[in-house]
Amino acid sequence: MESFDYLFFLEVLTGGLLSGVMYSLVAIGFVLIYKTSGVLNFAQGALLLFAALTFVSLVERGVPFYLALALTFAIMVLLGIGIERAVLRPLVNKPPITLFMATLGLSYIIEGAAQLLWGTQVHALELGIEDVPFEFYGVFISQFDLFASAVAALMVIGLTLFFRYTRVGLTFRAVADDQFAALAVGLRLPRIWATVWATSGLVALVAGLLWGARSGVQFSLSLVVLKALPVLVLGGFDSIAGAIIGGLLIGASEKLAEVYIGEYFGGGIEGWFAYAIALVFLLIRPSGLFGQKLVERV
């Protein structure tokens, strides 16, 4: 290491940041549900797999692209309503950890159903974006990653506007602030939760398409949830900004660590490195970067 290769460093950093965006995309789906219903939805990965698999299978059966997109979205909405009905409503007022375990069960059901319906083989997903790296001041950047970041940015802007300026968004925020107060002023919690799950189904669809286009639509897609969890821990479970910044931090440090210190560990450290960062960080700040300070019930 006589002369530090800045260009190479920049390239690794950019690659890491861009793959961090992909983590954030998954993490946002979690945040939506956690914010409004206090549930850590482990089934988000399964939803993502289900959305991507449904979309791909529809397209492979000759359904036009946009129709398939609309159909999949409709299915995700129905799924969200069904989940609210069958799982959340009977478990109202149970401790959060019970709800978490219920979403674990839910993820098993959705994963099983998705593959029972559409088969277990790997599907290729073509979104019509070429994955050709282009050069930008000597740094190679993947075009696909840039597209993914643009989509993520659009989605975050869209969600922020939605939360801030629409009536539904306002009710979401009310529920997130105080469920009892929201009930008291006459908001219908079941309907709101169904909407939230449908929204997170939409996020799952977008994330599923992007992840699927990159790594093929298959079972392992539902494992991206494991990549998103340290991002959430780092950013705080209830902050969209946290999910974005956490994703960027995790993505960048993961890639940098793999390239620069990975060799000292014998490589392959990306499986747990993100968790290590998140843990070290949490020991210093237990509620994450932007998470709300936990108010302990006594």
Partner: protein, 348 residues
């Protein structure tokens, strides 16, 4: 008349140790003689190992309320530590290596339990995933753990204790049964001691526990150590008595979830829940594959079986959480309670 009505009176006064003792007698004296080797190898051995892991996790999650998603990692640590003690320390009795492996697992458990001092709930559950990924990575990456086997596979040594050969399927059954009995008794003693009540106090209200003088930090680390100790030995049983050949990938996240599901379905904070849940988890795939191939014939291949298994397990979890949050243990208590009235009706 009097003879008939006296029946429920007697059973109502049955002491609590009768049922476990009867089960033990059947397990030791009857099962090995009537059970086929299929029953023992394919059902009872995994059942015993998983039950023990469930007992261990139940101490941590059921009693002390610390959710862990890394149980399989601790099983792996136990299995690989026992393998290495046995391999590298000349003349060390097998039982001692397994016990030492439990100790190593307890130490690893304390390390991964450290975050519990500051984190709780979801944050802790997520941080136990770190154990899952780190252990699996380390065992695959460093050949030393598996004695430089190219794919990280370890083979179980011959099960010989004090000159007695336990290598047959009946022998391995007895071996597992004895270990599980001893450790379950140990876990039950802990759970009903002051320490066990401290665990429950921390689960129910940490602040209150601290106020009444429970040493919260020490107790949390203790429960991580104890639970990991038991789970580690369960891992050694899984590797040595049941599978005989294991690789790190066999202790993946799905296994961790399986153990968590065992205690949810069986019943949190009960000892017998772990056994009931494990029995369901072991028997149910066999039943499902029989029923499925009977109903659907060739359509029901292993892929379909795998998927429908996931669906049914997931559904079971949700159904239990909604309808019977205290699991099979509570269900069983209610069912037997119906036949065993606590106050016999006076008969004139």
């Amino acid at each position: 008349m009097a003879a008939i009505t006296s029946q429920p009176v007697v059973s109502a006064k049955l002491p609590g140790w009768i049922a476990p003792l009867a089960i033990l007698i059947i397990a030791f004296a009857v099962v090995p003689f009537i059970g086929s080797s299929y029953l023992i190898e394919a059902l009872l051995l995994p059942f015993l190992a998983l039950s023990l892991a469930g007992v261990g996790l139940n101490l941590l999650t059921g009693y002390a309320g610390q959710v862990s998603l890394g149980s399989a990692a601790f099983m792996a640590v136990g299995a690989f530590a026992a393998f290495n003690f046995n391999l590298r320390v000349e003349g060390l009795p097998l039982l001692v290596s397994i016990a030492l492996a439990g100790g190593i697992t307890a130490a690893v458990g304390i390390v991964f339990g450290l975050p519990s001092l500051r984190l709780r709930g979801f944050y802790l559950a997520v941080s136990t995933l770190a154990a899952q990924f780190f252990v699996q990575w380390a065992l695959t990456k460093f050949g030393w753990f598996s004695n430089d086997d190219p794919s990280g596979v370890i083979d179980a040594p011959k099960l010989t204790i004090a000159g007695i050969d336990f290598d047959s399927s009946t022998g391995r059954y007895y071996f597992s049964l004895i270990v599980v009995t001893v450790l379950t008794f140990f876990a039950w003693r802990i759970a009903s001691s002051q320490t066990g009540r401290n665990f429950i106090a921390i689960r129910d209200n940490e602040t209150a526990a601290r106020i009444i003088g429970v040493p919260v930090l020490r107790t949390k680390l203790l429960v991580f150590a104890l639970s990991s100790f038991i789970i580690g030995i369960a891992g050694a049983l899984w590797a040595f008595a049941y599978l005989r050949t294991v690789e790190p990938a066999g202790f993946n996240l799905d296994r961790s979830f399986q153990i968590l599901f065992i205690i949810i379905i069986g019943g949190l904070a009960t000892i017998r829940g772990a056994f009931l849940g494990a029995a369901l988890m072991v028997v149910f795939p066999v039943v499902l594959s029989r029923v499925g191939s009977f109903l659907l014939g060739d359509l029901f291949d292993s892929g379909v079986l795998d998927m429908s298994q996931r669906i049914v397990i997931g559904t079971l979890i949700i159904v239990f959480l909604i309808l019977e949050p205290d699991g099979l243990a509570a269900l069983g208590r209610r069912l037997t309670g119906r036949f065993r009235p606590s106050t016999p009706e006076p008969v004139g």
